[in-house]
């Protein structure tokens, strides 16, 4: 869609995205069509062409037809997806996003609304407040859109009566108040007749407020949040050595705050830290500082191992929350409901973690705010739930920093829900994690990187964790594997838990139930050996999932292969491989295990 403009009008003008939402048939497209026609933003001849078209097909002309860019929309007469149209006022350039009002297309409405900085919510004066008037209001507040103007449309159909307008205003204001939304204004209009769209209407002398056009110009442009604490989800760590570039660049888009060369940054959830050495950019002069809104890259003083999914934070600023248990508010868009006992993917910033629904506290019907007690969350429901993650995530609470509290849930390849984190619940690994943070923070880094060690030793340092019931051949297997790998020239070491028990654990050996602490210390020893580049084999009796969580929390490395040995599986541990050992053929089990390590790329195949 082309616009009519002059040089001085456009120079340095800002652009704002505005979404128009509301119940189906309340007249969103008509209002946009009218806005475009009245501001002379339509291509020449378009209006005449559409009018002629209507005449030919003997149907009355509607301004909404101007927007019908897609064939099937014309056929069904409803907006199915958010379409963008471009339009200007003297003040700024606008992108108007026309969001569909039909419940079936709520996910499209959300996609459209999420791009917007402000919203126009349309209510039909004749039909009054409908289900989606409320639901869309709720969604706008969940999405974090705070500037909302309510347009009461089709005033011509109710004889331009002030009383009808005021009744809708009172009723809808009350609804919005319950979800903490304060609208900027209520405007009585007729899209069809052009009342109060671009010019004040003579038909409603009782109305003293803005026209729609004035209202949009009155919305304020939201600046990136540079005053908030620094937050940057790591999108990638780039090293393009193949192209002759030795820089190791941490890349991402800054959500909030600012960053300077020399600043100390900490990466969560690992807790690793370093200082910003340079800020990197292509085809730009060097910079000392970058801020929210910019997609940036920086190098570090030390070569620490960080990866995509971590959250970069500045030392001395608000520490993000870290947990596997989250209390959230969410909305569900999926075709199948959100249920317990099913694995989903949780995406927050750049991290993606397997997730399960632990509990539904309450389900809210967004169209009337009634609260229901349900065991699952259905399509178009809004709910408060507790989610449990397979791995720890770093995030903020919605009340502190909204951008890093927002997540989506993927079900069967599709984004099926979104929400904000209200509360971080302490999980069972917190006591271990707290120690790990301090350790990582104080960790003296070798000048030899894990990659260099892996290349030299021709192996990736990994923990091979062998567990199972007593007397099933765990130790025999571990020792045989150690011998086989050693003979292959690998740097490998077998560590029985007893070796740790009487030395490292001497101080707690005789104190009651210390299994968790034993496991934590074993994991710390393992962490050092893994950092040295070794393939470490550990055996322990009857490890459970909680034990494995402690090990995973402690290790800086993710490479753990868990093997359950023996016929009977007696704990809840999620193992990678199940082996039953025949004493005559321990070599067979070793071969199977070795193959597994080759598959995982821990050691390499000789061909």
């Amino acid at each position: 869609m082309k616009e009519k403009i002059t040089v001085d009008q456009i120079d340095n003008k800002e652009t704002m995205n505005i979404v128009i939402v509301g119940h189906v048939d309340h007249g969103k497209s008509t209002i946009i069509g009218r806005l475009m026609a009245d501001t002379n933003s339509l291509p020449e001849g378009k209006l005449a062409q559409v009018k002629a078209n209507c005449e030919r097909n003997s149907k009355p002309f509607e301004y909404a037809f101007l927007l019908d860019a897609l064939l099937d929309e014309q056929e069904q007469g409803i907006t199915i997806d958010s379409a963008r149209v471009f339009f200007k006022t003297e003040k700024r350039n606008y992108i108007i996003i026309d969001a569909p009002g039909h419940i079936e297309f709520l996910k499209n409405m959300i996609s459209g609304a999420a791009r917007a900085e402000a919203a126009l919510l349309v209510i039909d004066a004749n039909e009054g407040i409908q289900e989606n008037s409320r639901r869309h209001g709720y969604m706008l507040s969940m999405l974090g859109i705070r500037q909302i103007a309510v347009i009461v449309n089709k005033m011509d159909l109710v004889g331009y009566q002030q009383a009808i307008f005021e009744q809708i205003q009172t009723e809808f204001s009350e609804f919005l108040k319950t979800i903490n939304v304060v609208p900027r204004s209520f405007i009585p209009v007729s899209g069809m007749q052009g009342d109060n769209i671009a010019a004040i209407s003579p038909n409603m002398n009782w109305y003293k407020g803005h026209t729609v056009l004035d209202m949009v110009d009155n919305f304020t442009k939201e600046a990136p949040l540079v005053e908030k604490p620094f937050r940057m989800p790591v999108q990638g760590v780039y090293k393009f050595t193949r192209y002759g570039d030795a820089r190791r660049i941490i890349a991402g888009t800054i959500d909030t705050g600012k960053l300077q060369v020399g600043d100390e940054v900490i990466f969560y959830p690992s807790g690793k830290k370093s200082r910003v050495k340079t800020i990197e950019q292509f085809n730009s002069p060097p910079r000392q500082e970058v801020e929210a809104g910019y997609a940036v890259g920086f190098t570090l003083d030390e070569q620490i191992y960080v990866k995509r999914g971590e959250l970069a934070v500045k030392a001395g600023e608000l520490v993000p929350k870290i947990s596997t248990l989250l209390k959230v508010s969410l909305f569900w868009l999926g075709k199948s409901p959100l249920i317990k006992g099913k694995e989903y993917s949780f995406k927050l910033g750049t991290t993606k973690i397997p997730m399960r629904l632990q509990e539904v506290h309450q389900v809210i019907d967004a169209s009337n705010l009634s609260v229901l007690k349900k065991e699952q969350v259905g399509r178009h429901d809004v709910a408060e739930c507790t989610l449990v993650l397979n791995r720890v995530a770093a995030f903020d609470l919605a009340e502190d920093i909204s951008s890093t509290s927002r997540f989506v849930i993927v079900d069967d390849y599709e984004i099926s829900g979104g929400g904000i984190i209200r509360e971080a619940i302490e999980d069972q690994q917190k006591w271990v994690r707290d120690k790990v943070f301090i350790r990582n923070y104080k960790w003296e880094k070798s000048i030899i990187s894990p990659e260099e060690r892996a290349e030299k030793y021709n192996q990736k340092s990994s923990l091979v964790l062998i567990t199972g019931e007593r007397n099933v051949g765990k130790k025999a297997l571990a020792k045989a594997l150690e011998s086989r790998l050693f003979a292959d020239g690998k740097i490998v070491y077998f560590l029985g838990i007893g070796n740790v028990l009487y030395g490292v654990d001497a101080d707690i050996k005789n104190q009651g139930d210390n299994k968790s602490e034993h496991i934590r210390r074993l994991s710390e020893v393992a962490n050092i050996l893994l950092d040295a580049g070794i393939i470490l084999i550990v055996t322990a009796v009857g490890l459970s999932q909680v034990d494995l969580e402690i090990i995973k929390t402690t290790l800086m490395f993710e490479r753990i292969e868990t093997i359950w040995v023996g016929e009977k599986i007696t704990t809840d541990i999620a193992f990678d491989l199940h082996l039953e050992i025949n004493e005559q053929d321990i070599d067979g089990a070793v071969s199977e295990l070795k193959e597994r390590l080759q598959e995982k790329g821990v050691i390499f195949r000789p061909w």
């Binding site: 002059t6 860019a69 996609s111 999108q235 910019y294 984004i415």
Partner: protein, 293 residues
């Protein structure tokens, strides 16, 4: 942060998300202004490098200067350049206007079919060998699962409804009515085997934004966009039988920006010089549902 900065940073974010999530990622480079801006943004996103192949569908009817320009930048910027073509349709002369088919069929064969089969690696493709300085048969037979395109929402109606990450099913078709939700910088990056995603980092850019950015960054463009003294220039580039220049005396980037800002072209569609959009009932949208870019 001005509007161009805003657009640039969102596009870079999208490019990096695409790079992180797709093992077999490629970028379609049509040699036109939009996809060249896209290529430039990739160099920005990856600090001077383009860590995935660029794919060009050569219809053999492209204006020769476009091909020279493509190969010059490929060498200069060390690009991993892959080229695909519908060899059968060309040898059977199923082309317009010198063959027995109409414009839409020609587009379908030389572009859509060639694109599908180049992306899926079902047809042979060639890759530029920087050592030998020539194209040679590409023996990598893996299909692309993510393809980055320079589509803009303001070009025409159907493109205004695209997502940044837009899935295509096994038949390469686009389900306009059932697209994935997209919010909070979270995109559809999970996909079923056999399907692929199209990624559109330039969706929010306008024609004017593109030229303003070309000026700001000093991006090299093909000279066909500028009037060479005949009072004509191309506004949108395609195959020579189906692309006509517009009346314009804009000789450089600045003059194009002025032309766009003063509204000289305000009432002429950007793709008005592209004849295939006008043929048949559905035009570009019908083409796009079947997999056209």
């Amino acid at each position: 942060m001005d509007h161009l900065d805003e657009l640039e940073n969102i596009s870079i974010h999208i490019l990096r998300e695409a790079y992180a999530n797709f093992k077999n990622l490629g970028m379609l480079w049509s040699i036109g202004k939009d996809s060249t801006v896209l290529l430039w943004l990739a160099r920005k996103a990856f600090f001077g490098h383009v860590p995935f192949p660029l794919v060009h569908i050569d219809t053999a009817y492209k204006i020769p200067e476009m091909i020279e320009y493509r190969d010059r930048l490929t060498r200069q910027w060390k690009l991993n350049m892959v080229v695909g073509q519908n060899i059968d349709a060309l040898s059977l002369k199923q082309t317009f206007p010198d063959g027995a088919v109409d414009r839409i069929t020609c587009c379908g064969l030389l572009k859509t079919e060639a694109l599908k089969n180049t992306l899926s690696a079902e047809w042979p493709r060639v890759r530029y060998n920087h050592d030998k300085q020539c194209y040679e048969r590409d023996f990598n037979s893996e299909a692309f699962t993510g393809i980055i395109l320079g589509v803009r929402a303001d070009e025409e109606g159907s493109r205004s409804k695209e997502r940044y990450f837009s899935p295509r099913d096994k038949q390469n078709e686009w389900e306009v009515a059932d697209q994935p939700p997209e919010f909070w910088s979270q995109y559809k990056t999970d996909f079923a085997p056999g399907t692929h995603l199209r990624i559109h980092p330039l969706l929010d850019w306008t024609e004017l934004n593109i030229w303003e950015y070309i000026k700001r960054e000093n991006i090299p463009t093909v000279s066909l966009y500028y009037d060479q003294g005949e009072g004509k220039r191309y506004r949108s580039l395609g195959c020579y039988p189906c692309t006509t220049p517009i009346e314009s005396s804009a000789k450089n980037v600045d003059e194009i920006i002025v032309e766009l800002k003063t509204g000289k072209l305000a009432h002429i569609a950007e793709r008005s010089g592209r004849a295939q959009d006008k043929d048949g009932g559905g035009g570009l949208e019908a083409l796009r549902r079947k997999g056209y870019m």
